[in-house]
């Protein structure tokens, strides 16, 4: 709750810092290897990914996947795309839509689905609140 209030009190400069804090928070969840926020055009807004993973190509693909899910949901008339989870044998990719792009988390297979989904939802709520306030205040 305090984090949400903090989000509501953000000014423009703090919002830049806030996205970095959100990514850091996600990346430090148990069994989580990294996190990033990417713009819909694939630009990396903030990232904490393990060494050895090239962030730009990963972000380009994550944004393309996010846009594909958004466009698909809209075309099929089922409302806005919200979240997706894709699990391989050796890791899981979480992706959520937000007003500034896509929030992505990369986790080990044993990561708690509930915990990461909850953290992702909280991240999107924080971004929503901070950006909605900025839009209405501008």
């Amino acid at each position: 709750m305090s984090r949400l209030r903090l989000g509501l009190e953000m000014d423009g400069t703090s919002r830049g810092r806030q996205v970095h804090d959100i990514v850091k928070g996600l990346a430090h969840l148990p069994a989580t290897r990294g996190a990033l926020i990417v713009a819909p055009d694939g630009f990396v807004i903030a990232a904490e990914v393990p060494g050895g993973v090239a962030v730009e190509p990963l972000a380009a693909l994550a944004a393309t996947l996010g846009r594909d899910l958004e466009v698909g949901a809209t075309r099929l008339g089922r409302g806005a795309f919200q979240t997706a989870v894709f699990s391989a044998d050796d890791g899981t990719l979480f992706l959520a839509a937000s007003p500034i792009g896509f929030v992505v988390a990369l986790t080990d297979p044993q990561a708690s689905l509930q915990l990461v989904r909850g953290a992702l939802a909280e991240a999107v709520t924080l971004i929503d609140a901070a950006w909605a306030r900025a839009t209405s205040g501008s």
């Binding site: 713009a39 380009a60 949901a73």
Partner: protein
Amino acid sequence: MRPTLGRLWWPGRRRRPRVPAALFAHADRLRRQGRYAEAGRLVAAGLTGDPDNLTGHLLAAYLHLAARTIEPARAEFRWVLARQAGHPRALLGLARLALEDGDLDACRAALAQALQHHPEFPEAEALLGAIGNRHPLSAVSASPRLERLRLPPLARALLVLAADGSLLTARPSESKGDGDHLARALSLAGATLRRAGWGAPRRALIEDGEETYFVRGDATLTLALALPRTTQIAQGVLEVNRLWAAAQHALAVRVEAPAPASPPAERPRRVS
């Protein structure tokens, strides 16, 4: 009163009209923080001062994409390419829009052109790798038994896809459109997972405003069940596992069906 106060606090600071280049540089910094509305205002102001500025139009394209206003974004990318053919970022932008439209040929062509001008372009390489992967033709074919799988009462749709993304069954048949969408999303997810150093997707949950797709797959088959958004995840996973086992059985029965009767082989004769 306020201007006086302003002068008192910042006596040496006078507001000067900023040159477009400075406005674009500031807009780009804001864009990198996700502050699109503020960036948009600066880009608009910059383009008023310098309407033919390439950077300004490229930024405008990105900001339109960020706002999900696709046609203006496409127009801006084209504007940039009309002035600088082979601009890699504009080509990448158009390639991604072509992919959203389902035009894979146009997407490949734009990416190939970008890489021709700039061979070291990781994002274009990654995207080309993702859409260039052709799946092997499936050895599994549709079975009427798949049509008889028992669906949960609240299920909206069941899709079964072969390894090449072709649809083996769609129930109800109106959900066929979901099959193409799902196959492409899983293919992109596979490419993204590979970029993270992992294997192919085996399970997925895709949630939109109304429903959740519970997906399970392996190298030969993908099964996706659409349930209402309110479905508990554990319940959805149980249902998709049950259908997965049933689909495997249905297809195995078909594959292992007895071969057509053939004439009995001649017994070898004893040679005395």
